[in-house]
Structures are given as C-alpha cells and as structure tokens.
C-alpha cells in the first residue's frame, strides 16, 4: 500500500524520513520518522484502529489532532493511547483496542 505516501506534490516536499519498524497486532510494519502511530497505520492501509467497547463496531480516527478520542489503541501494553497525536517510535507494539482499557498505574 506504498501508494498512500505522497511523493509528488506541487507545493510540499516530503523527504523520505528514516524507516521505523513497529508491529500492529503482531504483524511487522514500517513507518517513517515524523509519523504518528495513526498516520503510519494509515500509510499501511490500516483504517480500523479498534472496536467500540460495547457495540463492537469498528472505529477509525476522526479529527487527527487529539480532540475526539476516536483513535484510542493499546501501545506497548498501555491502553487508551491517542494514536493520532502519539509519535511513532521504533519497536512499538501497537494493538487494536476493543474494551474500555485499564487505567495507568498511579
């Protein structure tokens, strides 16, 4: 699904950032430096980020700027991470979330 990355643009230049390896539900995937988790997933053709905790309907991102919480996922074991603003880091273990998640240790 490499064709999702824009390489040719009349105004913007997107330099090819370093490749970042991560996994999504166990599958190895590649993102780029500068990606958020959600943008990297989208570039890999992944639109479904989780399932509603009650209705189990599929969910994708909506606002992409951290306002709406439609994009919550489990990242490195931590649930309810807003993946549309959380930067993608090497080796991240990203999983779809389909329950309310567990609160952080406080």
């Amino acid at each position: 699904m490499g064709d999702r990355r824009i390489t040719d643009h009349p105004i913007l230049d997107f330099d090819e950032g370093e490749v970042i390896h991560f996994t999504f539900d166990g599958k190895p995937m590649e993102g780029r430096e500068g990606d958020t988790i959600a943008s990297a997933l989208h570039a890999n053709g992944v639109k479904v980020l989780g399932y509603h905790f009650k209705t189990k309907r599929p969910r994708g991102f909506y606002c992409a700027i951290g306002n709406c919480s439609a994009c919550l996922m489990i990242v490195n074991g931590k649930s309810n991470v807003r993946t549309c603003t959380a930067p993608l880091l090497p080796g991240m273990v990203v999983e779809t979330q389909s329950d309310r998640g567990v609160p952080d240790d406080v």
Binding site: D3, R4, R5, I6, D8, H9, P10, I11, L12, F14, G34, D35, T36, S39, H42, A43, K47, V48, L49, H52, R57, P58, R59, G60, F61, Y62, C63, A64, I65, G66, N67, C68, C84, T85, P87
Partner: protein
C-alpha cells in the same frame, strides 16, 4: 512544584503565537503551552496563500506564517518559554492551571492567562457515520499536508464552505479524486475563487443535497446522497449512490472552550459564532479577571482575525501587569482598526451580528 510566571498562553496557533510574541516584546515573562509536538495550530496544514492585507501576511502560505511567528518567539530567549506536547487539562478557580507535559503532570500559577485553544470540527448525524473512513476535513488535511499520506482513493466531501472547497482542491493536488461536494444550502458558502478552482477541475458541487447514509463492511465503501427541499427533507427518487472510500465532513467548527467553562467565565451560545463563546470586554478580557481570549475560541473567524486578536490580548495582558511600551496606544488603535476592516465586508455580516452579542461589562 508550582511554576510561577507573568503570563501563560494556552494554544500555539496563530492567536496564541501572536499573544505570546506581543507580551514578550512588551517585557513580560511568557510560557506558551501547545498540545501538539509543533507550533502553528491550523496554520501548519494550510498550503494555500492567505487572503487579507499584508499586515496579516496575505499571500504567504499558512505553514510559512507559523514558522515565522515561532522563530520570532525564539528570539526573546529566556523571556519566552515554549512547552510542546503540553496539554492544559484543568483551569481552577484559584488560577492554577494543570498541565500534562510529555506525560509529566505539572502545575502553573500565572498572573495572567490568554486562552487561545482554537476550535474543533462539528459532526453530522446519519446512519453508519461511525464507519472508519469518515473523517473531519481538518483531519484529512493533517494527514495529507503534515504527514504526507493520502486518506484514500476517492472522497465524497460534505460541505461547500471554504474549508470543504480548499480541502477538496488540496486532495486533488495530492492525487486523490473527489467524487463530488455535497452542500445542504441552496448556495455555496465559500469564496467564489475556491469554488471556481474545484469546478474547473471537474468536481461537481451539488447544492441543496445531503448525505443520507454511509455503507461498508469494516470501512466506507459507498454513500447515498439525495436532493433536499427547503425544509431539509430528502426529495423522493433523487437518491443516488456514490462509490467512495472516504467521506470528509466539513460542516463547520465550534469553539474549544472547555477550559473557559471550568475557569468560570460567563459564556453565551451564539450560533453565528459557532457555539458557546466567552463574554469579553474590548481588551478581550473575560468575566474572570486576568483571563483573556483570542482566536477561534472567541468565535469562528479566520487566521487573520485570530492573529490580530492575539496581538491585542497579549498587549492588554502585559499592559495590565505594568509592561506598557511607548507604542501601546498606537498598537491598540492599529489592532482595533484592523479588526474593523477584517469584519467589514458583506461576507462578515454573520460575524458582526454574532460579535454584537458578546460584549460584557
């Protein structure tokens, strides 16, 4: 630990950046809080050249304006601090602001605050509106222009205001096809220049139309649209199906004013300004002393007005602390004149009516 400072500006969009710059210039110590990893707010995703006069950087692209303002803030050295990845999560009656800064919980007690948190996108209700592939227009813009990723192959745009029109054009620039732009009103809301651009590129703008439903297995595969009558009811037998993998919702913005509610500012619901907005005086100070507002959080306008409001709010907040430069009077007068000019045309009539209801004190 409690951080103490002259002024905290919440939000690093055009309004917040101008407020922070102006107050630092006047001599105040400023802390700017930005939720995102970068400054600029909505500006960073705007690749088109701006309207307005030269003072508000007309014909400069939005992304370049935000870099300019960020660099200027850097030039103040220690007087201006920027926390990125810092979300203001609470604003208490004793004036304490709580912040999640890179996962660390912090408390700040400033003498003055400028709230410039901007706006969030409105949503539309129709069956299956929660399917993945249905995105806000701003989200699509962020994906394309900030991260360089196409949202899909074929988009149905809902809303023919400026944002809907501009994002449609930008989708085509990125090589994505736009099936149609659907608009409920009988006429196009955005500027004729933007509408002309998309029409020339062959995209139909369907006025007096609405989306009835979306369908698809795990994500959007098609949408059903129909013509509507004056009371917004679908006219039978005008239904048609549009194949698309993205539906982009661009039906307006609403002020992101939660922090102002929490701080106890008096708010008023003004539809012409996009939702509930704070009452304020002509220094942009709300009904809570020391709390100023600027930009889209005061009512949905444009970046140009947001910058001028930011300038004014920063100027007044600093002046109230005794940081009043020789140019104070001239700057204040200039801001007032710019705002009047920006809000003078026929397209700004709605804004003028809305603003008439926001005066307090």
């Amino acid at each position: 630990m409690m951080y103490k400072i002259d002024l905290v500006v919440i939000g690093g969009g055009p309004a917040g950046l101008m407020a922070a710059n102006t107050a630092a210039e006047a001599g105040a110590e400023v802390l700017l809080l930005e939720r995102d990893g970068h400054l600029g707010g909505q500006l960073v995703k705007q690749t088109h050249k701006f309207f307005g006069s030269e003072k508000q950087h007309a014909s400069v692209r939005g992304i370049d304006i935000s870099t300019m303002l960020g660099d200027r803030l850097d030039s103040f050295g220690d007087r201006a601090t920027v926390w990125k990845n810092a979300t203001a999560i609470g604003f208490y009656e004793d004036g304490v602001i709580t912040v999640d800064h890179d996962g660390v919980y912090k408390k700040v007690k400033p003498k003055r605050v400028v709230v410039a948190t901007g706006a969030s996108e409105k949503f539309l209700s129709f069956p299956n509106n929660d399917l993945p592939g249905i995105y806000g227009a701003g989200a699509v813009q962020t994906m394309m222009n900030v991260y360089g990723i196409r949202p899909g192959h074929r988009v149905l745009m809902i809303g023919a205001g400026n944002i809907g029109l501009i994002v449609s054009y930008q989708l085509m620039q990125a090589g994505v096809s736009v099936a149609a732009i659907v608009e409920g009103l009988p006429k196009i809301g955005g500027y004729a220049v933007h509408a002309g651009k998309v029409r020339r590129a062959g995209v139909p703008i369907l006025t007096s139309h609405t989306i009835l439903r979306a369908d698809g297995q795990e994500s959007v595969e098609r949408a059903t649209i129909a013509r509507i009558d004056r009371t917004w009811n679908a006219i039978p037998e005008t239904e048609r199906t549009i194949e698309c993998d993205v539906i982009c919702i661009s039906v307006g913005l609403t002020p992101l004013a939660e922090l102002l509610w929490q701080a106890g500012c008096e708010m008023r619901y003004i539809p012409a300004l996009g939702g509930s907005v704070p009452l304020r005086n002509d220094c942009l100070e709300t009904t809570v002393k020391g709390v100023y507002v600027a930009g889209d959080v005061t009512g949905i306008e444009e970046a140009s007005a947001a910058m001028v409001e930011g300038h004014l709010a920063g100027l007044e907040a600093a002046a109230s602390l005794g940081f009043k430069s020789d140019s104070y009077d001239a700057e204040r007068k200039d801001c007032m004149e710019q705002l009047t000019a920006l809000r003078s045309g026929p397209t700004a009539e709605k804004i003028r009516t809305g603003l008439a209801c926001t005066a307090c004190l």
